[in-house]
Symmetry: none
Subunit: 409 residues, 2 copies
């Protein structure tokens, strides 16, 4: 027996005025999703906890059965893993942006004019490795203005604050220790020195000289955020008895899955954007199931459209995913379970994450079934799964697959 | 006010093809159980946790209000208590089988040809007590090929692996320490010596010489499993203010209840099998209620029939229990509550435990009631009790009986 878990990022929503007071899922009224709900079992998921708005990192950890409250420290390590880097458990990893920062510390552009991947890569080479106060710094560029920084060495800590003001203020923040430990203080100090050194190198880098000549904002600063350590997760295969793979566009999702020991399937055209190639992703799921028991299929665009406050386009995207799932169903063997849910609610009139629960359905040969016939936030309130927490989804699925060890005799 | 908790072992099930896609409970459609559901309050129980398949030992601990995740180490001590033995908290107890094992360690028969109680008793006398490495070994025969082993002494541990391969392989397993502690290592080593000594004694025992002459498999080995320590449980009477008794056939259920301080009522004809005398058990419940506030009535056969993959016979057994409960209701005083549930789900098309929730009903003078009129896995999804965990059942029941201490003022 096998299972596919489909996560539509930011799927949950609220009633939207522009959709006649329906949620995008209600408005979409997709025939495939409704069929799965009617034939399967439904419910609502509080992904991390009732009412608590969560990020995609903590949301995915929970949906894979790992309690983020006990294992999550920051997003950095998952971005690093997702970018294909390898991490040690005592490394401290950060997400980074190339940014344009004025002499007085004012952030002119958090993305350095959305500098190209090619330019960023060349800049990154000049600040690739550095040793400061006995700490090894490794910087890796990923996509466009984005990168990852890894600190490795004795006596360091992930308890350091964000340098990236991220819309909260307009000034670069000094990295500060988040507790009184010598490790946090040392880490903040070394990071500050690294940022100053890289600023000097970037400032006079030929790429930036050229950009200034073209009146483009120079990428003269590294904004760090999301400091974290890789959690020492019990491998998914050991925890649930399932050999697993992930089909996703975004680095973060691959990273969380890699931390749990998943195989990462790279799919052409899986971009993590609205233009993602759903057909290729479905093919990759079918192919992956030949040698695995469990595949996580992640679709990012539903969340992006919510952040862009486009409920109607979100509904259209839900319909596109529904149709793609319809084609997937035709190719699944009869002993396959399919679960569909989201990693958090992003109300598309607000454009930001909220802690409302997310609808979930489980479809497959041996579900008990319930009386719900539609897949949306309101109908699923009355589902047979009731109200579950994110970390409970995987035990429920693995129970259907019969791979869990008996507790007791 | 008093209460009877009726546990039908392995009651929960899934839709069965041979029952027209109904569960055995739906197929049974028992008038007494449906009446109790209609007049009472219903719900679903996740006995140990959502999706987690559990054994009868952990299931009963949870249903009696004791969290198995914090108090359970293994089944051995409950079997020992159920067999009437007394245990100290630092004893380590095992379940045992007399088995037939070849020279090379191959298990020829895990039950030594289902050797008789009489022969086993005589064999057991020859290996009753032994001292090895300062550890006292006590072996007691129970029924047929079954027995219990108790280790008593300083510096021992329950963290030793099963010797009984129990269907997983065909070879006797060497007892191994399950952690690096000197206690676990010492226990495994002493147990290995005990098994070798008993093998020598059993091999040449007159009973086995006679069995070989009759071409019967000799009972020449003790297979141990379920190593555990007795948890130090807060007595049930102290915890819930209820003087309690158990009416059950199987030793395990008596053992769990004894660990919680219940009186064990031994009933003639209560065999823990399909042929159990339900009439006698009901009489014992009525009799026990005269001097106690709470009686646990356990019926094993529903689980046995599920393991035997006989959904129709399971439905018939449910009907027999329902009718017996009808007779019990006639004799209960009007201030008595009745709860009916199971200790886990055993889908009778699979023949093994699963983590699906189990239906529960509570009937009695002061329940609020709900709109559910049938007692089965699907109907109870919509019950007023909602979705509860096993450990929550007893507080809910004791609340109706009014015996719980006020928390706060």
């Amino acid at each position: 027996m096998k299972a596919v878990l489909v996560v539509l990022d930011g799927l949950g929503d609220r009633r939207c005025r522009s959709l006649g007071y329906m949620t995008p899922l209600q408005y979409a009224r997709n025939r495939v999703l409704d069929r799965l709900a009617a034939e399967g079992e439904t419910g609502l998921v509080d992904v991390v906890a009732r009412g608590i708005p969560n990020g995609s990192d903590t949301g995915h950890l929970a949906l894979l059965g790992y309690d983020p409250f006990t294992c999550y420290t920051g997003r950095g390590p998952f971005e690093a893993l997702g970018a294909g880097l390898d991490l040690r458990l005592d490394d401290v990893a950060f997400r980074c942006n190339f940014a344009t920062v004025a002499e007085d510390g004012t952030v002119i552009d958090r993305r350095a004019g959305r500098i190209s991947t090619e330019e960023s890569r060349e800049l990154a080479e000049s600040i690739q490795t550095m040793e400061i106060d006995g700490v090894q710094f490794t910087f890796r560029h990923t996509v466009e203005h984005r990168g990852v920084l890894i600190m490795r060495g004795k006596g360091i800590s992930h308890r350091v604050s964000n340098v990236d003001p991220h819309g909260k203020t307009s000034t670069v923040q000094k990295p500060m220790p988040l507790d009184d430990s010598p490790e946090s203080i040392k880490t903040a100090q070394a990071l500050e020195k690294f940022l100053e050194k890289t600023r000097q190198i970037l400032q006079t880098h030929p790429i930036n000289i050229k950009r200034r000549e073209k009146n483009l904002p120079p990428a003269n600063y590294i904004l760090t955020r999301g400091a974290g350590r890789l959690p020492n997760l019990l491998p998914f295969e050991k925890k649930f008895g399932l050999k697993a793979a992930v089909v996703a566009g975004g680095a973060l999702y691959k990273g969380v899955c890699r931390a749990a020991g998943f195989d990462v399937v790279n799919v052409e055209g899986a971009t993590g954007t609205v233009n993602t190639n759903l057909g290729n992703k479905i093919n990759a799921v079918i192919e992956s199931l030949k040698t695995r028991d469990f595949v996580l299929l992640h679709v990012k665009a539903t969340d992006t459209l919510s952040h862009d406050k486009k409920p109607r386009e979100k509904a259209e995207m839900i319909n596109r995913v529904g149709e793609a799932l319809g084609k997937m169903l035709e190719q699944l063997s009869s002993d396959t379970y399919v679960a569909v849910t989201g990693d958090h609610t992003t109300p598309s009139e607000i454009g930001d994450h909220r802690g409302d629960p997310v609808p979930v359905l489980i479809w497959g040969p041996d579900v008990r079934g319930d009386s719900v016939t539609k897949f949306d936030e309101i109908s699923c309130m009355y589902g047979g799964l009731g109200r579950i927490r994110g970390v409970e989804l995987m035990p429920i699925l693995a129970n259907y697959l019969g791979t869990l060890e008996l507790y007791g005799e």
